[in-house]
Symmetry: D2
Subunit: 325 residues, 4 copies
């Protein structure tokens, strides 16, 4: 097993993924996609940005859209408390990793750094809280997204990515191994007790592969497909619906108007046990990707969102998965 030992007592306590900021070319189009079609709630807006939350969330935002190039600015995570921010800063300093303190609206002290491949991430402990709306059913529409679930990134070296994120307490729940080389082809890691907060897939990277939002039922995925395919969003449907072998999730992948990939994700399982055993998948097993057998389209393996200012590099592992012809 090529996995590092889990770090059961990490240097600081990341509670969960929190939000992502994406550059978009047309805020009105993005609003039509994310608010009117996927059903996110706009919680703040200005001439060059939109902030949104999903229906179950009480943090001020889980998605920030800012007019600009179609890049991702950072993946953001919530830590347990303010002391964890200081512990994180100390640890990053010890590791020789650069970091800065940045100002972000609607949230407290924020620490910005990056992983060894350059994935920019930000940590904060407190964000403005909003009143619950999960029982305001009049607000439910379109995709009825309930909460942000995870990020998935292309990595040029998944072993190295997993080593770094494991060292800060992320625990692997499932992984794909290239049997020939004994190296990781992909891995899913969590903090919040589900299958993942963060995942890495072998490929030209670092790039953001997708951001996932959780919905309550496969029927909500089907209804979103019906809506998108009859309201002008047909071309944005990329892959699915299907059941992943990995994570056992019912999934749909769509592309926003700028090509940022969003996963609509249902099902999941509880992983809070510290002795929860990772599940190994073989790169040659097509049920890994889709339990029901259908391979993913080529675009799904190749296209992704660049991180601002980070030049992606080719993967060091050349093994390839099965792709739809």
């Amino acid at each position: 097993m090529p996995l590092p030992e889990p770090t059961l007592y990490p240097p600081f306590n990341v509670v969960r993924l929190s939000h992502v900021e994406l550059g978009v070319s047309d805020l009105a189009a993005s609003r039509a996609f994310y608010a009117d079609t996927l059903g996110l709630q706009v919680t703040a807006e200005g001439s060059d940005y939109l902030m949104l939350r999903a229906l179950e969330e009480r943090g001020h935002h889980s998605l920030v859209l800012r007019k600009g190039k179609p890049e991702a600015q950072a993946l953001s995570f919530k830590v347990y408390d303010e002391a964890d921010l200081d512990r994180a800063a100390d640890w990053l300093a010890d590791q020789g990793r650069p970091f800065t303190w940045v100002e972000r609206p609607h949230q407290g002290r924020t620490l910005r750094s990056s992983d060894p491949h350059g994935v920019p991430f930000e940590l904060y402990a407190r964000m403005e809280r909003l009143a619950p709306i999960h029982q305001n059913y009049a607000l439910y529409r379109g995709g009825r997204l309930l909460r942000i679930d995870h990020f998935n990134c292309f990595s040029p070296d998944v072993d190295a990515s997993v080593a770094f994120w494991s060292s800060i307490g992320f625990r692997v729940t499932e992984y794909t191994e290239d049997e020939a080389s004994g190296r990781l082809w992909a891995a899913w890691l969590h903090r919040k007790g589900g299958v993942h907060d963060m995942a890495f897939t072998n490929g030209l990277g670092p790039r953001l592969h997708h951001t996932a939002f959780w919905v309550a039922s496969p029927l909500h995925v089907i209804e979103l497909l019906d809506l998108m395919s009859t309201t002008g969003w047909l071309a944005q449907i990329e892959r699915g619906p299907g059941r992943h072998g990995i994570s056992n999730a019912f999934f749909l992948y769509i592309r926003d108007p700028d090509g940022h990939r969003i996963e609509i994700y249902s099902s999941d399982y509880l992983t809070v046990d510290p002795d929860h055993e990772p599940i190994r998948w073989d790169l040659k097993d097509p049920q890994r990707q889709t339990l029901w057998g259908a391979p993913a389209p080529r675009s799904w393996f190749e296209e992704g969102t660049r991180f601002h200012g980070v030049e992606p590099r080719p993967a060091t592992l050349s093994a390839q998965p099965i792709v739809a012809p």
Copy 2:
């Protein structure tokens, strides 16, 4: 519009499709597929046959499996009463179409004939009735199929097929037109008040494309996929799940151990109005096949079950639909 006028007062009254007899090579394998996995109930069996019904049906059988070549023997339909059988015989004689009276177990007088392309069909008025089991929920398992829904056949000349079946009272609900030639590429026709009892698709024919069974919800389709893909039936999953543009049905296509295609079909709509207007689709519209955009695999367009003793002929219309690469 290339459709014939509907025959509102047909020469005899077909109530609905009833059952199909398929040749299979291994009864035990077929039983594992249809009874254990799809959830049909075995209502009779012998050394060389199995008879089955779906959970909502009270007729003795909707599927007959007989050891032999992987062919279809006939598509069977129930007529309103015994007098309709005599009216059917008279009408067939008038039309110069051959017919015979045959004996079939568990059912009354049975008239066997064929359509102009050679599709063998049988008509009967009364079949042995069984006690209801639709509220015996302990019997629900696997696919939980509720009732036979429709047949779909390849036809070498869909215009001619529709002309014949319309003349005996089948009413077109949806159809695909090849705009260039003004000819029918496919048509869906009903008697029982849903989208179809019988459909025709342009292709090497006549051959049986599939037999469909109705389930209550897309979730049952998803659960059947989960079951099949983890119990050795992965290779039998051919296409889906998806939403057809035509019929608006949520579908899954699977192949039985002998390659006979079964559609698991959910959703439908009421078509009992005699002035119910057919919906026209353009052959070039990919949402016709799948509302969500994914084209069907080539096998779905090319493979089918032969009817016993009937040599299929190439289609006279050469226009082709969009196929997955």
Copy 3:
């Protein structure tokens, strides 16, 4: 068995129930209920009326709301063609039942009569047709009602009601018998091939007990409950959700702003066979009402909508069902 023989060749051909006209006190409140909350589409409106259709329907309307007393004007049914209207008129004349020809907007010749207890009904063959909207998923909201399904009336003498409606071709699918008297306590009768177009329940009558609309899945019922209970309609929820033993339907009963009862009805089964055997239930079997055992509230057994100009009379059968304390 206290049922009359089914009339397999009725004097005229009723295709299905079509629509009902209800008097309402406040059109804006009714619109908020039926259009905004249940999801019906307004197809015509004036200063004193609203016409609506469900999402799968192509006839102009299945519900007419007119400002006035909270009464029902008539239960309307579609017949096969114009000749059936004349056959109906001839038959009514033969039976000595009064009838008139009336003008109704958006529909052709209309025949108005009543059953022996005074239930007013109207027959027509052709209504203005509208373009399909069942794949305009942007229109789906709230209850997402797909089609009108059935009427249910209190009858002072269910045996007599069933005798009349059977004589015009309605076929009993399920019925409740009072074993002590051998009389019918309730009956469900169909024309369109499902469990019912029309039902009768013993009680002060004739009165309209409810009008039912069909939805695709129990999840839609649950989502409607969530919506109603958080948008000011909590008091309109009367009974459910539950599974009827009779009809096997998943149900919810709600009351509109004037107290007219609407059933949201999911599931059903096919009954097109002319030899489809009715299912008998015993009045003392509580699973008849709710398969899962919960009795109905007293209001459900006692309250209903009067028909305009018809004075209800007490039931002649005094046996009583189990009622929630």
Copy 4:
């Protein structure tokens, strides 16, 4: 707000609830209920006991049934690691609470103690792990329970119960306040990141009100109701289905053959944020119990399972909720 401050750095780390041991009079009947009907997997059995797990669980058991009086032996919780057991022992000693080390099959060192009202609880860090079965869909049957979700106990003094469990790190997510007295009527507390691992309701206590298991969808609840009501378990259905206002869960309450109450629980929401704000409900709000308005039956408020050797005492708060008449 009558809530204590949350203990963000508790004396030891409870990961989640783990399992309960219940006394039952007839193991065969209990097996028919829990394994054949609810769908739990038997993982060990002897002449006087059964151990079971739900389909997503990898710990050896979440339910232990032992032949004997219909009592609960203890509520069990998993702690993070062995050191947490020692920290727990130290803390209990500090608090003057009695505890013992006990032997339990299939698990490591186990610490047994009780809360101030006498609720017996056990803590362990490591239990035998079993291979995953969540993708062995052939094992899914009946209720298809996925995991144990929470315990709910009657407490004679909810304020005192919440004070104790808060002091060991349980965080309140929702609570019901009696406005008149300013005291807690009920509270829901979690460790694992959902609405609760443990809840308390005002009443004769301590007694176990119910143990809840999580299912993926309301449709699974409905299918379990259909199955139970047609396989001899009708009398075991106590309350539901419905939506709780509190927790927003879709629920069903059933009673096992010995009267132990089981909740089938679907939906939930993520509560991992340490600053997650509790939601307050008023005791007089009937939507608290059922969002859709229906009150609970009296038995639901009055009946529960005794803990072995613990005599329940009347509640000190006399305010009462709305109960079905």
